[in-house]
Symmetry: C3
Amino acid sequence: MERKIYVGSNYNPEHWPKDRWPIDVQYMKEAGVNVLRLTDLAWSRLEPEDGKFDFGWLDEFMAMAGEAGIGLILTTPIEASPVWLRHKHPEVVRTDKFGRIHGERGNHCHNRTALHFYVERLVDRMASRYARHPAVIGWQIDNELRAVHCYCEECLIGFQAWLRSRYGTLERLNDEWGTVFWSQEYRSWDEVKLPSADQLTISVSQVVDYYRFASDSTVNHVARQADIIKGYAPHHFVTHNSLGYWYLFLDLNRLAEKLDFMGWDSYPDVDSDNHHICIGHDLHRSVKPSNDKFWVLEQKNGYFNYSNYNLAIEPGLVRLWAYQDIARGANGVLFYNWRSNRFSWEQNPNGIFRHDGTPRRAYYEMKQMIAELGGFGGELVDASVEAPVAIIHSYDQIWGYEAHKQYTNFDYRRHIMDYHKVLARNGVTADLVEPQADLSRYKLVIAPSMAMVNEDIQRNLEAYVKNGGCLVIGARSGMKTWANTTIVTPWPGLLTELAGVAIDEFEVLPDHYSNGIAYKGKEYRVKVWLDMLETKTAETVATYTEKFYAGRTAISKNRFGEGTVYYVGVMGSTELIEHLLNDIAGERGIRMAPIPDEIYVTHRVNKEHRFTFFINVNRKPVTVKLDYPGLDVIKGEEVTGEAEIGGLDVLIIKSAVSAQQEDNEA
Amino acid sequence: MERKIYVGSNYNPEHWPKDRWPIDVQYMKEAGVNVLRLTDLAWSRLEPEDGKFDFGWLDEFMAMAGEAGIGLILTTPIEASPVWLRHKHPEVVRTDKFGRIHGERGNHCHNRTALHFYVERLVDRMASRYARHPAVIGWQIDNELRAVHCYCEECLIGFQAWLRSRYGTLERLNDEWGTVFWSQEYRSWDEVKLPSADQLTISVSQVVDYYRFASDSTVNHVARQADIIKGYAPHHFVTHNSLGYWYLFLDLNRLAEKLDFMGWDSYPDVDSDNHHICIGHDLHRSVKPSNDKFWVLEQKNGYFNYSNYNLAIEPGLVRLWAYQDIARGANGVLFYNWRSNRFSWEQNPNGIFRHDGTPRRAYYEMKQMIAELGGFGGELVDASVEAPVAIIHSYDQIWGYEAHKQYTNFDYRRHIMDYHKVLARNGVTADLVEPQADLSRYKLVIAPSMAMVNEDIQRNLEAYVKNGGCLVIGARSGMKTWANTTIVTPWPGLLTELAGVAIDEFEVLPDHYSNGIAYKGKEYRVKVWLDMLETKTAETVATYTEKFYAGRTAISKNRFGEGTVYYVGVMGSTELIEHLLNDIAGERGIRMAPIPDEIYVTHRVNKEHRFTFFINVNRKPVTVKLDYPGLDVIKGEEVTGEAEIGGLDVLIIKSAVSAQQEDNEA
Amino acid sequence: MERKIYVGSNYNPEHWPKDRWPIDVQYMKEAGVNVLRLTDLAWSRLEPEDGKFDFGWLDEFMAMAGEAGIGLILTTPIEASPVWLRHKHPEVVRTDKFGRIHGERGNHCHNRTALHFYVERLVDRMASRYARHPAVIGWQIDNELRAVHCYCEECLIGFQAWLRSRYGTLERLNDEWGTVFWSQEYRSWDEVKLPSADQLTISVSQVVDYYRFASDSTVNHVARQADIIKGYAPHHFVTHNSLGYWYLFLDLNRLAEKLDFMGWDSYPDVDSDNHHICIGHDLHRSVKPSNDKFWVLEQKNGYFNYSNYNLAIEPGLVRLWAYQDIARGANGVLFYNWRSNRFSWEQNPNGIFRHDGTPRRAYYEMKQMIAELGGFGGELVDASVEAPVAIIHSYDQIWGYEAHKQYTNFDYRRHIMDYHKVLARNGVTADLVEPQADLSRYKLVIAPSMAMVNEDIQRNLEAYVKNGGCLVIGARSGMKTWANTTIVTPWPGLLTELAGVAIDEFEVLPDHYSNGIAYKGKEYRVKVWLDMLETKTAETVATYTEKFYAGRTAISKNRFGEGTVYYVGVMGSTELIEHLLNDIAGERGIRMAPIPDEIYVTHRVNKEHRFTFFINVNRKPVTVKLDYPGLDVIKGEEVTGEAEIGGLDVLIIKSAVSAQQEDNEA
């Protein structure tokens, strides 16, 4: 792969007449497109009948694109399997909770032997054929994978085996799940069932483990394909386009281990602040710490097909979205789609080209951006996003809460987003990492809520703090085992020594209630979940102001080894988070200061240079203060002090890293 | 059939003791009832055991009613089939998406051979027995039919045959449905499935065709019975009582082809403007253009059984509702029910008589109306409703949107109703016709939205305009094929030459957004769907005022042949529609002027006379201006200039057509 | 059983290590706990394999508890059956409407032969083993039973048999259900089906009878177990913990016939007035008139597991709740749970002890209360709650409305609660009794709504009034047969002579409408259901003020024998109810006067003494007026005139009954 930012799109030659192909390729050349994703939905054309393959049409197009200097990504087209396969094997579609085969695109069961056979044969054919194709640069495995919750008999067998390997003995499973509670004790492995609708009792622990098993099943589905591809083409990258931050059931950390780098599909709104997109970028950047660049494999450029309304996309917005991707670590941006789909559920004009084959504004914005990147894109390739803070984000926690919601007004991921957004609005970018991850590089680690803790996590956090780290633990933490049952020691359990507090009592408020807390002379309204802290080795930082527990500790601060631990026993106030994190940032030497509304600031830094990205989501110009003088790489002008950015425009300042380090040391 | 308006009710002799029958018939005679509908729910009494028929009780009642001079309509009592049939053949009940037999009254599968056998045998027995009965005037086939969506194996076979006959080859089906999109390509006919829940991929085109197939299946169910009846009794009329404007899935245009005239069941509210009833009348009047009179086979007169509340029916309201039926083209009004049902789901006092057998106020209001109609009803029989405007209403469009809603804030039928209501509130009655219908008689044709267009429709509309017609095309038109896929030419596709515009872009606004448009010096807020027009041969009539497309065309006007085409690219403003239609009405010589609130005005016109109906839904008197002097046929007084109508009262003015024609020509 | 109030908790020795048991028992002894409920969820430990029983661990704990002087209640642990049973007999779990086995804890089918076998064997083993155990005082049968609606083939057979025994002949069933209505007539018993989803027609009467059958099936499930237990241990009491007032489907009156006294599980809110708990107490007290004391077998003391939020429980609240139980007739209060559950769906700290084994505040409040009761609890045991008013509450009515809701704004049980609350806020406690119950002891009987009436009920009510009683009948009464079909005589049918009115018409208003009525010079807004009365022998007490029926009678009063009957044709105004009941209370010599907000007052009276309970749900002190001077039994001080009660505190005044009788006679 070349040292450049890749910009292109998805292309479906199988959807359009052959005589159109050269026209499209000509348009691509004119715009400087350097990458295309192919075959995402093409199984029925690559294997029109069971075991009869037809690569001719694809060879033809790939040759054409290759000659135009375009790098190609081949997708294993599993998501939409052909009708003949399901006609022969209806069971490759998932079985629902009620034992019914119940489909929808992509809803295959990843544990079906029949599916394995057909997928592996197809991937083997594709990989062996295209491993040495000069235009191919990499592979996408399947499309927007869901960890489909299937309740078929092969899943049952798989789940029993998974549990046996996790727990070793039934005694341990019974013990960790606490099956004694509702007489759900198992006496033989074949009594253990999936959490299907025909069960009298299903335990919360069983559900969490089922979610883990389903995610693992899907990760294995990817690994099987990756292994085949790497066997033929170790020099090609392998990636996948994830559904993003909000999709619950697939552990991206585990998935990323099977991939060379992470990819995802980004569909921003025209009329929101798109913070959910920013956090999506940050998550996908940090799920594979060994490769902190990612690709946006589908970047929205037109009308979205699965929304209740569709605002017209204003001039400038498509380019802006693509720069936002790069600003937060993307090394590749592929617009979806080249030409608008004509059929079935995706008929909105979602392409760079209209249905009628004429270019939309997006084409010209893409062209402009590719031209601009020609000047500085290559330098970005190994520039990492500067993220001094880590936020702990864990699929096990998500599944724990999902298996047993308990409180409807607590949303784990919105709660994480509250912390993330306060940082972003103050110019600080955060990684989203697992609690087991290496934390040593971060100036600050925030665990907004972490109900389930195990000894690995305890050790990891303690080591980080002991060596001088700073850890913020949020409310509702530490009271559960890794099997999602409640501990028998005082709360916050394994986090007790770290936090230096005990929690005797709490309350969970509905939306119409709140309590107050006093922090450094200011009062904040807090709600959702309130822990009442008893300080042991910690000191009190904030106290409650109302109800019978007025005066009790709400936030504490503890010294642990060389480091510090805050326990923030309250939720629901971003103003309080901002106040507190500003104080902590001061202690930790993190630059934190408010940035103008609807401006997004991030930094990509390599050994020599810092690239500071200012993305202006306002419809009007905004003036920003520059921390570092440098080169406006788009305009090619030196700037210092401050600069104006046009509405829906982008400013990128390149500055020298060496000078800044001296500056910091001074 | 005699030349009179038929007024009567439904009657269920099988629900009441025999000794009550003569009492009821005596009440009927006293009121002048001249028609009864029988046997709608009587299958279990007509055929108490498989193949054992009992017509004795019915003969007896029919003789009694016939002697009283009452015309009889026999209903084929299929909706509520007997228990013994379902016990033998549970499969006559529909199979749901999940493969389960899943019933509810009337939910038979119309493709089941077993059902065909039993229905045809029963209808044959009834028709042969009563074809020459002197009191019988006609037949109602089944009751409130739904095009039941069944997913049984006989539907599967039927659907495959239906598709084969529609598309000829699988190649053409694959092509028109665009099955390549999600690898859904079929290689043999038996791979084609119903859109049942066990499918991985279902295409939008498949769903639309399934809706067409289901409607056809139900129309065939009617045709099979009509054929048997007509075989024995060609002199009897055959009709059906449809569920009305809001029921989606049965194409009333196709159904009407099998019937002598259309019928429907009208259940107005006590506390709404009942515009949905008016549009129901107008639809049922115009679905069979060759016979533009219809019957109301069930007219509410009491408490409704399927609503969450029931307001007491004020004195006068029952008579008012019945006159509203006639005012819009009904030649028959049958109240539902004679005596209030006692059992099961319909226990509210819904009869002209109470449960205890005493008459409710409705009885006396019906009696009064029959007496009044004695004076002029006969003259109305061939008087047609004057409807100078046609609104295009198409079940294929409904199903297209239904198969793929895309945007929740767009409702095709409410959108049509917006146009219809603006006309009605200005004294203009519209027909609701298919896009393929003969349009030559209309001064104005409005197609409020017509996404799918085929060449037949194009030809029909072009012919109409070419010959001097005026066509208004609403937003969201012309971008789809008849298989509900997107076209590959510029929008509005086959309507392009007619409209003289191209549409590059649009936006779909949620409820909380709008844009402005300027039309003849006034500004209107528009929303839902906004097309941005590029005028080709058309001129600009109105432009957008906000956002990046301010100044672009929102409404255009094009000359085509001898006629004119407006393309109204916006939705959501009835004020704008009113302004625009007033201007167009002026051009087209349509009398259009506001009428007082809650007054409904329609005209029935035969060769000699115009009957102008004023229905006053107000609870207090209203004075109306009369366009024509004439005879108040109820009071028997000549009126001119203006007249007062009492609260919840009716005024009918009979005027001479000849004088008016002179007047118009002058 | 000893003459004392029992206070204790549920205990699960099987959930905790054996070495914890003595610690817990020591805590119990220190607090004075005198009762424990055991084995509610222990089936898998009592019978770990099919037919292999293990009572050793239970013997051991029971011996320990017995030595500590604690009385034991054994629960038949059916709710959570063991996995091995369902593995062998999956069909013991209920079959849903669609024919699928579809579980959830407690969702067994009570008609399954397999379930009967295993339940009866286990109960036989438990009863035979512990009948003579010195510590055992009684048994709880199953846990929080639901009348599970199952649609399996054994339920079908059971239903057919139940119907055959109820109706004798099919002719009578067809007649009473009115199956002729939708051709649902049955010709043989095997044609009669359950109201499952595969039926084309289901009648309202069929549904009501199915609810009756399901309730009976569950009552039989209890009776089978009670018979076994009583066979071995006639000296032990048998009870059950019902789900409370809001659970619909189990007829507590029939259930109570099988039990020595009634029990229920009380889970009050921290932030409501808990009137729903008070009415729960009153219902459970009066469902077994022969034993008007009940037990609270689960009393909330901590965080609730099935709510969307959980407020911290303020100091004093746990003791307050327990006294509220006793104040309304409880002779036993068992907190749920001793120690907080750790597993699965119930992980909130719901115990008197935390998960970590340390006592919560609840422990000390319980200890305090036990000490207080030591002084006077014994005297309460046979003191009955003084309830001069009966409200008619009938499961048949509930099921009638449930089978056919008709009107969403009418809620039978909320409507009853309106009457109940008006009485309670004025210091009058009401029983909730069946319409067939002995009413002679009540000064006033209120039937807030009674659509279905049969001749037994008619006779009972007429006898009560004839002998001088006072009956208030609410709107929507008397128009239905006991099979939930409409009568053929004028409304209110069998109540006509009692009420002395006829009802020709009514209306049912949605929430946004109302009418006015004038009662003794005041006007009230009424809604929901309004009957328009025609007085026959009755006099008019209030009239409507609006709409076309202004001036017609809304409330009437009739003399019948020695008594009086009010027909209150309106709903929706508690102000009106309060005004009317105050007037009636005056006539009937019932002490009725407003009591301060959030104070609850009840009286328990035995031959010698009256115990007046004041429960202060306010967070601040309140001063109350005392009707009778007496002894504050908690403080041990004589009080007279008035007294102050602390926030969340309780005052109990013991006064001599003899003096009061003289007082009343004077």
